[in-house]
């Protein structure tokens, strides 16, 4: 009897332990009860890290390109055409950025990210055709185009959370309308841009996204990182 009791007891303990182990926290998008959803601060941290990584990749690719394809000093740091995202009005300074409302700032970010999805996949495809470009750069290009997509989803989640918490009004435009607002010329313009020009423009835009996200975070969730 003692043996039986003891073994039962041990089994029970094991069950309990397993239960605590298995009890991980799924992320709930809509804050259902019982879910352990991350805080807004956590979400912001994640997207900011993501955008930092994305900008790092774009900088690397840009400098690689300059090294291998454009040795002449004339062309470095200069493009002849505007970036295809020039139609998006983005704040060019700290005051301008701080003057923008939260909703507007979020919208700008989302627009930027939406505008780069297609051009980057196009860029990756053209990279694959380049024989001179190393496979490492090719991988970076692929990673970069994936990241834009993921980052956009992340920022949308952040926006939803903010709307849920009442931090921003619900006047934020939905995803589809954001994309729809883009003029047709932009996409054709993107297609005609050279690889170098694409990299140049994206490097800049990714820096914008990262910076705007940081400003947004510090405005909404004042933390030690600010």
């Amino acid at each position: 009897c003692v043996l039986h009791c003891w073994s039962l007891f041990v089994l029970l303990l094991m069950c309990l332990d397993l239960h605590t182990l298995v009890e991980s926290a799924p992320i709930c998008a809509h804050g259902h009860t019982g879910c352990h959803s991350p805080t807004l601060s956590d979400l912001f941290d994640r997207v900011i890290q993501h955008s930092a990584r994305m900008h790092g990749l774009s900088s690397d690719l840009h400098s690689d390109f300059e090294q291998y394809f454009l040795p002449s000093r004339n062309q470095i740091g200069r493009i002849n055409r505007k970036c295809h995202t020039a139609y998006i009005l983005t704040p060019n300074g700290k005051e301008n950025a701080q003057r923008l409302a939260r909703e507007e700032l979020t919208e700008v970010i989302l627009k930027l990210l939406a505008a780069w999805r297609d051009p980057l996949s196009q860029f990756h495809r053209s990279m694959a055709r380049h024989e001179d470009f190393t496979s490492i750069s090719g991988n970076k290009a692929l990673e970069m185009s994936d990241m834009v997509h993921q980052l956009k989803n992340g920022v949308e989640k952040v926006a939803e959370k903010m709307q849920l918490l009442g931090m921003i009004s619900n006047s934020l435009m939905s995803l589809s309308s954001t994309e729809a607002l883009a003029p047709h010329s932009a996409s054709s313009e993107a297609r005609s841009m050279s690889d170098y020009e694409l990299l140049y423009c994206f490097r800049r835009d990714s820096n914008k996204v990262q910076n705007y996200l940081k400003i947004l975070k510090c405005r909404i969730v004042a933390e030690h990182g600010c």
């Binding site: 200069r78 493009i79 400003i215 975070k217």
Partner: protein, 563 residues
Amino acid sequence: MEKGFARVWRKTGTRLTLLYLLLLLVGRMNGEAGVAPPGKPRLINCRSPEKETFTCWWEPGSSGGLPTSYTLFYRKENSDVVYECPDYITAGDNSCFFDKNHTSIWVNYNITVVAQNALGNASSDPMDVDVMNIVQPHHPENVTVTLMQGENLYLQVKWQPPRMADTRSGWITLTYELLVKREEDDEWEEYFAGLQKQYQLFSPHPGETYMVKVRCKPDHGYWSEWSATAYVDVPDYLPRERSVWMLLAVFSAFVFLIFMWVLALKKNRVKHCLLPPVPGPKIKGFDSCLLKMEKSEEIFNGLIGLGFRPPSDSGDLLVDYLEVSESIQSESRHSLSPNGKDQVKDSVADHSGGHLCDVPAILAEKCNKEMEAQGDVQTEESLETVGHLAGNDNHTPNPSAASSNQPCVQESPYHVPEESKQGLDPVTWDNDELSSYRGNAPVHGKSHFNSEYVTERWQGCLQVTKPTEYVEVQKVNQENTLILKPKAEEEMEDFLQLGLRGQDYSKVSELVNDHILLLERGSTTPNTYCGSLGSPVQQQPKQTLCQGPNGYVETFTVQSSSY
């Protein structure tokens, strides 16, 4: 006339030319002092300390000997409008400062510097600048190092971000780096502090001065200059932890040394303690030799004969005696004479001579050797008694035998008192003890049997020997004779009476007339007892008192049909 005029003209022209050439020559020899269009200036770099303003510096070329002015022009991205530098003064010589209103981030600036003097101008190579890439902040401010006392002493370094950089709104993110050095060291140690604005340095060296300096860097930009060095003096102290451990280590080393020394001294005892000598098997009446011969009946008989009272078969009492043969290193025996007188033999005879066991020689030898070996190695030996018929010619009396007449020897089932034996089996006793009690020759040995011989003997023993028991001495009568009172037999009283001085045991000194026991005055602890054996046939039934080697008294009936 005309000739003269031409001559004069030619002369003047020549002179003028000469003069001009001379002037030119002089001018060239003077170098800079000479007039020339300015040399080409060179843009060095542009930097922004907080991503809100920026400054560009250039290096002037040759001035051409004339006062030269420098103008900076810039164009913004995708625009053909040319602007001039708004501020040449704030940032010093040969610089252009762009204030907030003129600074746009994420916009490409195309900057050119033009040098101009009376004779001409020279334009530098253009430079493309995007403010997001040229951020180099000022160094961190208010760097302080303080001694802090937590569990242990440590240094706390704290600093502030540069004043102009706006980290609180998230516009710039700065990461920090420290350099730490002790005053006498040559090399600086690098520490990366990340985003935090303070840093701990643990376990500083006591009695030394530390120097610390900090710098910062934005996400994608340049490291700042090093801040001013901060100093701190660390006082002399011994970290508590270390001193405690040192003390403990010294103490334990000391203890360990003492322990080893003691161990070395008492090596033998330790060895004895850790690896105790394995005692040989000793069971009273249980002869390993018998075991080897695989005579189970005899073994059991021997066992039974010792401890149990056989059904009292009064009609079948045979006198038999047990022969004890003992020796420390060899055998000695107590053998009883056929007429009942016991002779204790202590022989230090070697085994090679007499084998007690008249068994097949091989086995016997084997037994002997084993026992001998045991006896050699160990000081304790089991005492075994041998049932032996009187008159066995194999037993030669040893002239050097024990002095006292001891009637017989029998195995004692009685328990040897604790103090007299050390580590002894209850069923056996230590021969050393025996010898000590006897005071004579050591009693020790093994017994060997003749198997067939044994059978009779054991049977005889069984039938004859009464189980040993204590004899109670009642009193000593006037004739100095013992009057004993056996527990089971009250008739014993008739024979002897003994008075004691209140002791339970007395030492027997002599047996007289086969039925009178003379006891010594004084008490001894009982050890062995004896029984007397006699030939089962010849002797008359009588009660006999016998004395063990140490005088322990016991009675038994021998062939008694009457008590």
